[in-house]
Amino acid sequence: MPKLVKDGAIVENTWTLIEKPEAEADKVNVPAGQVIVPLCIWQAQKAQLETRTDVGVWLDSDETPDSLADDVTRLPLIGVNFPGFMDGRSFSTARLLRERYGFTGELRAIGHFIRDQMCYLRRCGVNAFAFANEETDLEAALKSLNDFTEYHQASVDQPLPLFRRRA
């Protein structure tokens, strides 16, 4: 089973990621077990899917958290996708999910982000990292989580900006 980084440790990835369907979203058969569905499938099949507790949703970089709005607090897992690592929209998505929509479940970065972005992602509220590149050395990547231990800005992991914490 593939692994991922979660809460600072390497763990088994027990969730199955469903890609965006080429067919119509309401026709896709969502399997049983822990699955992360794309937003379009969630929206098309919400009536059935919201009765389950093992369904998470992933947002692509051009999808904003308001499209999940009220569902956020009920979901066990939300994924934020990086189609390429230079596409930084999901940093804003992650922060908004935590800070504005009050999401407390697993916030998982998926796709083509790189390990050098993990510290920033963690600060934006991401706590799980599933690299699309399966060759990523997770043991080594763990080190990047804490590239920095001190920061100026207010963010999810430290809501007080440094200027409010300076002695």
Binding site: F91, R95, D116, T149, E150, H152, A154, S155, F163
Partner: protein
């Protein structure tokens, strides 16, 4: 000047360690060139035509003598003995070795310097007025706010992978010397009727291939809301700026596409959520930032007596008098002056400075100007606190070191990018054009008579030489593999910012001095008394200039 505390040091140390690790992973093949690219750019490291280029951040242009000496040391030990002052007040080294860059960064960190975010799709070094704190027309010193922005923007977790680069400029004076209207965000510090400090907020200015003058989106932003408002602007841009085409990715394109009004509404709506949160600046923090920019121990000087002395020396020494007129600027403290050291000596690339010169400036700063200096976006260096009684001695020393060329603000004070001699983006060389024009305008009495003329040269449409906002702008273009130059007239970067108009078809390099001479001739023939080049152009339009420049030889 701002002084790092243990927090700043920790962050910078960790940044240096991070980049050392990234460089090692790249060299060992763990990081692909594609992945390393944005990481090295966010550390100011470009791979140029001939060698890497490392851009060092000079926050809002402030640099002290210790830092100047460290620049000299780096120029000598890691480079070819010189460096370059950029149009965004930064300092560039053009010949470092990639493997030595982590060592250079460690040396920089020792003197509270770095190259963080001097390139890449992130928030760049905030720029400001080179006369901040001493200008006679200043309303509020912009530097404490620049420092607050520097800290907020440094390693911001949400905005490190923006659609494109992002530049902020701040001015606190009536006369804008920071070109805020051609920045992604321009902030003008103002006082409201109650005397409270706030900002007029402009968004969406920029040069490059789609030049634009910024739009005012907020008339008065109270100072305590500075960071939450910036965060709202950046978030809208991060979410909605175009990412499909890097040439349409700057915020100016978004602002124009949805209109400044709609953009402003979206920012205000986002800000409603952020306003009054933890990012709200406390009075304590504003005071802390200000505490680093207090007045140095100025002496109480009998200004009239000193002025008489200076006038007497000026009457005796014509060259000194010319330098006083061109390179010395008023100061809000009686008996003091700000001096601009010209990095525009003919035959030297505009903005280039040697290791020895850096040390001379450090010595001059120590002896005459409270050990501080400022880089300018016109690519010169300012020593801002010279006693007028020291001006004559100072001038003699500056002259001996080669930067008392009395050409500040003249047609010879050319803003110029490194161009095709160094830059891999350039379509054409720019430095030789600058030199040829300086040689054309060698007669300084004639040059003074021409008055203030901003002549700006860029080697390509990325516009690092700010050609769009030069009174005379020159743009290097490529025509079937040959280098040509387009002339633009009527641009300006001050409060009345405007983009220049293209005069017509481009010229070969060898034609340029004569073309500029003709342009200047038309001005001289048409100007009214006291009218600057750019005003004459505005009054009479492009036609007379076109006629002269493109006249068929009869």
């Amino acid at each position: 000047m701002y002084i790092y505390d243990e927090y700043d040091h920790t962050i910078l140390r960790q940044r240096v360690a991070q980049f050392r690790d990234q460089t090692q992973r790249f060299l060992s093949g763990d990081l692909t060139p594609e992945q390393f690219l944005p990481l090295r750019l966010q550390n100011g490291l470009y791979i140029q035509r001939l060698a890497p280029m490392l851009r060092i951040s000079v926050p809002y242009g402030m640099i002290n003598s210790t830092q100047l000496r460290r620049m000299a040391h780096i120029a000598r030990h890691y480079d070819k003995g010189y460096c370059h002052v950029s149009t965004r007040q930064n300092i560039q080294f053009h010949w470092p070795d990639l493997t030595e860059v982590p060592d250079i960064l460690a040396e920089l960190a020792e003197v509270q310097m770095h190259s963080t975010q001097t390139s890449g799709n992130c928030i760049r070094n905030t720029t400001s007025d080179q006369f901040a704190g001493v200008a006679e027309d200043e309303i509020v010193d912009p530097r404490p706010y620049c420092e607050i922005i520097r800290q907020w923007s440094t390693l911001h977790p949400e905005f490190a992978f923006l659609p494109r680069k992002f530049k902020i400029a701040v001015t606190g004076s009536q006369q804008d010397r920071a070109a805020i209207l051609v920045h992604d965000i321009g902030l003008q510090i103002v006082l409201n009727d109650a005397g409270e400090v706030g900002f007029r907020v402009f968004v969406g200015g920029g040069l490059g291939r789609t030049p634009a003058i910024a739009s005012l989106i907020r008339e008065f932003l109270p100072q305590e809301h500075l960071l939450s408002y910036l965060e709202a602007i950046l978030r809208i841009y991060n979410q909605s700026g175009r990412r499909d085409n890097k040439f349409k990715a700057r915020i100016k394109i978004l602002v124009r596409a949805i209109t400044p009004e709609v953009f402003a509404q979206r920012v205000e709506a986002e800000w409603e959520h952020l306003k009054d949160g933890y990012n709200t600046l406390t009075q304590k923090e504003i005071d802390r930032a200000k505490s680093f920019f207090t007045e140095p121990p100025y002496e109480t000087i009998d200004a009239a007596a000193v002025q008489a002395e200076v006038d007497a020396l000026a009457a005796e020494h014509l060259a000194f008098s010319k330098w006083l007129q061109r390179n010395v600027t008023g100061h809000r403290i009686p008996g003091y002056a700000a001096v601009t050291l010209s990095l525009k000596r003919t035959g030297v690339a505009p903005g280039d400075i040697t290791d020895h010169q850096l040390e001379v400036i450090a010595d001059l700063a120590d002896e005459f100007s409270f050990s501080e200096a400022r880089t300018t976006h016109e690519q010169n260096i300012v020593l801002a606190d010279i006693k007028k009684s020291d001006l004559f001695t100072f001038w003699q020393k500056a002259k001996a070191a080669g930067f008392a060329t009395p050409n500040i603000g003249t047609i010879n004070d050319i803003i110029c990018c490194p161009g095709g001699d160094f830059c891999s983006l350039a379509n054409a060389k720019s430095i030789p054009i600058a030199e040829a024009i300086q040689r054309q305008f060698e007669d300084m009495d004639y040059v003074y008579d021409l008055g203030a003329i901003d002549l700006n040269i860029s080697g390509c449409m990325n516009a690092c030489g700010h050609h769009h906002v030069g009174h005379i702008g020159i743009l290097g273009v490529d025509k079937k593999g040959a280098e040509f130059y387009q002339v633009q007239l009527g641009g300006r970067s001050d409060n009345d910012a405007a983009l220049g108009d293209v005069l017509g078809p481009s010229f070969g390099a060898d034609e340029m001095p004569a073309v500029i001479q003709k342009v200047v001739d038309v001005y001289v023939e048409n100007r009214t008394e006291e009218e600057l080049f750019v005003d004459t152009y505005r009054r009479i339009g492009a036609a007379p200039f076109k006629e002269r420049v493109y006249a068929k030889a009869s």
